[in-house]
């Protein structure tokens, strides 16, 4: 099993980039599609059954070319609240609890607008198009 996680909130403009990529790709891929506002502790169990996992999330900062694809490693980083659970922390939890370390990648796409609105900003739409091209190269569909 392979899983594609889109993380974000389509009601907060470019925070919906992760979901938007899933919307575009879902008819083309055999990866299991999972939409998340945030990762949950029980996702560690789901991930333990996967061979490959890709996390797609928006990024609030500058990224060269507007997006970044990189391997995602298990890490012990924690946030201050359960409202935020980074992909690395979920992988670490998966490792500690289930003894599994599936291959994992992280695709971050730079956002520009975080207002209370649906739909991406024009800048984010353009970056999503670029990111999709790379996504399809890295993950043949």
């Amino acid at each position: 099993m392979n899983i594609l996680f889109g993380i974000g909130n389509s009601g907060r403009a470019d925070d919906g980039l992760g979901w938007a990529l899933l919307d575009r790709i879902r008819q083309e891929t055999d990866y299991q599609i999972e939409y998340r506002y945030q990762l949950q502790v029980e996702d560690a169990e789901l991930i333990s059954r996967a061979e490959h996992v890709v996390f797609v999330d928006s990024y609030r900062g500058e990224l060269p070319g507007g997006f970044q694809w990189k391997p995602c490693e298990a890490s012990s980083e924690t946030e201050f609240t359960s409202h935020v659970l980074p992909p690395g922390a979920i992988l670490r939890l998966c490792q500690d609890l289930y003894g599994k370390s599936p291959r994992a990648d992280l695709l971050m796409i730079q956002g520009s607008s975080w207002d209370l609105q649906t739909g991406l900003s024009p800048e984010a739409e353009a970056r999503l198009d670029h990111a999709l091209r790379v996504f399809r190269e890295r993950l043949p569909v």
């Binding site: 502790v41 609240t81 500690d96």
Partner: protein, 488 residues
């Protein structure tokens, strides 16, 4: 000893839902002068729901929170039922069963998340443990069996919510006067048998295991659990007509710290008569109180500890046996030990699991639901027991069906004064006259707040972010120390 007035700020309080801040003002002698728990998020849901059609309320207001949306969905639905023209007793029996099942699943998963994910690191590793050890990952490494059970219990509750509401978060089950979906046999059967995922029977067994765990922990650490942040208070919760613990639909009962009844099983539609809300300049969160006792004496704890204090018994046998033992520990008097909230929470987990099994095995839960005809009214009040305590939704709608007024009193708001009391206890008993304020000491403030499992987003209906800082200020307001906490 310090000769400078200092102000300590914990910002944010960690491993709670949402963002809070604690300030502790020390005087020149290092004595605690003032200790406050602030919630400084933006409030707005009560206002922007106005003008929307009344039937949208259960869909929109649940967006207050990603942890307990089911509670807001159901409290709003109960209120909107009345505007539609249906009282709880007149709802179709299957609709009531489905809503109750959804609610028990919600409380079950929320309590599991809180205990295993947020609270267990403090209990297992101690309040002075290194910061990097005080998180669920460390629990996973050193107590993998406990952590695995915790995650699967949370998952069970979430899957049941998904089966009933279509989604684990922000799903929809209730519609005005009923539910919008029948519960199918194949959906029900998934939770009855151990087929890859643990069954409800396993959940009950594991719930008993975690109750045994907290009792064993208490036996070994009773001095800490009985004394830490303990203080006398009133307690408020819903009870059934027979005085039983009630989560979905009951009467409001409050008792004082000695067990005297201060609110005697009153109906939910009279809440405005009995409750007032105080306001302080330093917090966006209000301070509810019983009007006849006043702002100073009329505040109450809500949540697991309060619910077990106010109820006479529990309707399910295993949890009721645990309740008897719980009450016997304080000789039947109100339990004011803040840290016993964890014990109470786990007894409630067991009760929820027992109730889920009863409802799953009830053939009526699979029946088709008929909605009564609409008979519009101008107002509705819905009160339920959310995981964190009593939750009140109140709406008024005009003749066109547009919402004209919304008032929400959420669990964490009731616990505003109690959490401030807890902060003051730690400030006076741990931080007073200390030459050096360690991180472990500051964590004790958070442990006291965390026992209430506060959801600050709900309490102020929030949006936005907070910085992560601990600052120490001198008498002139100059920063003399600053620590950025573990945020990215």
């Amino acid at each position: 000893m310090s000769t400078t007035r200092r102000k300590i700020t914990i910002d944010p309080v960690t491993r709670v839902e949402g963002h809070g801040r604690v300030t502790i003002q020390l005087d020149e002698a290092g004595m605690v002068e003032q200790a406050r728990f602030h919630v400084v998020e933006f409030r707005g849901f009560e206002r922007f729901i106005q003008g929307h059609p009344y039937w949208e309320a259960p869909l929109l207001v649940q967006r207050l929170c990603g942890i307990c949306p089911v509670s807001h969905h159901l409290a709003a639905a109960k209120a909107i039922d009345q505007i539609y023209g249906v009282d709880p007793k007149d709802l179709h029996p299957t609709a009531t069963r489905i809503r109750r099942l959804l609610h028990f699943a919600q409380v079950f998963q929320s309590h599991a998340l809180h205990f295993f994910y947020l609270a267990s690191p403090d209990l297992l590793f101690g309040m002075d443990a290194p910061v990097e050890k005080r998180y669920v990952g460390a629990v996973a490494m050193e107590h993998p069996e406990l952590a695995r059970k915790g995650i699967q219990m949370r998952q069970f509750g979430q899957e049941l919510i998904k089966a009933l509401a279509g989604k684990k978060i922000h799903g929809i089950t209730a519609v005005p006067g009923g539910v919008h979906k029948t519960f199918h046999p194949e959906e029900r059967d998934y939770f009855l048998a151990d087929n890859g995922a643990p069954s409800i029977d396993t959940m009950i067994q594991w719930s008993q295991d975690v109750v045994a765990f907290i009792k064993d922990y208490h036996d070994k650490n009773f001095h800490f659990l009985d004394s830490f942040a303990s203080y006398p208070s009133g307690h408020l919760g819903l009870v059934g007509n027979d005085g039983a613990l009630e989560f979905y639909d009951g009467r409001m009962r409050a008792i004082d710290s000695h067990g005297e009844v201060t609110l005697n099983d009153v109906d939910s539609d009279s809440y405005l008569k009995y409750f007032g809300e105080g306001v302080e300049k330093w917090s966006y969160m209000k301070f509810p109180f019983l009007r006849h006792l006043g702002r100073k004496n009329g505040w109450n704890r809500v949540g697991p500890l309060a619910r077990l204090n106010v109820c006479d018994h529990i309707s399910t046998p295993l949890a009721n046996e645990e309740l008897r033992e719980f009450k016997a520990y304080t000789n039947g008097r109100p339990n004011n030990h803040t840290m016993h909230s964890h014990w109470a929470r786990l007894i409630e987990i067991l009760h929820c699991a027992e109730q889920i099994r009863i409802l799953l095995n009830d053939p009526e839960i699979l029946a088709e639901v008929e909605r009564p005809p609409v008979n519009r009214r101008p107002e509705g009040i819905g009160i339920i027991e959310a995981p964190r305590g009593m939750l009140i939704h109140h709406y008024q709608a005009d003749e066109k069906g547009s919402i004209t007024k919304c008032n929400l009193i959420v669990s964490t708001t009731h616990n505003n004064e109690p959490m401030n009391q807890a902060v003051q206890w730690v400030a006076k008993n741990v931080l007073d006259q200390q030459k050096e304020i360690t991180e472990g000491m500051l964590n004790q403030v958070e442990v006291a707040i965390r026992a209430y499992d506060p959801c600050l987003s709900c309490a102020t209906h929030a949006m936005g972010q907070m910085p992560l800082m601990l600052t120490v200020l001198d008498a002139d307001g100059k920063i003399i120390a600053e620590h950025v906490k573990n945020s990215k």
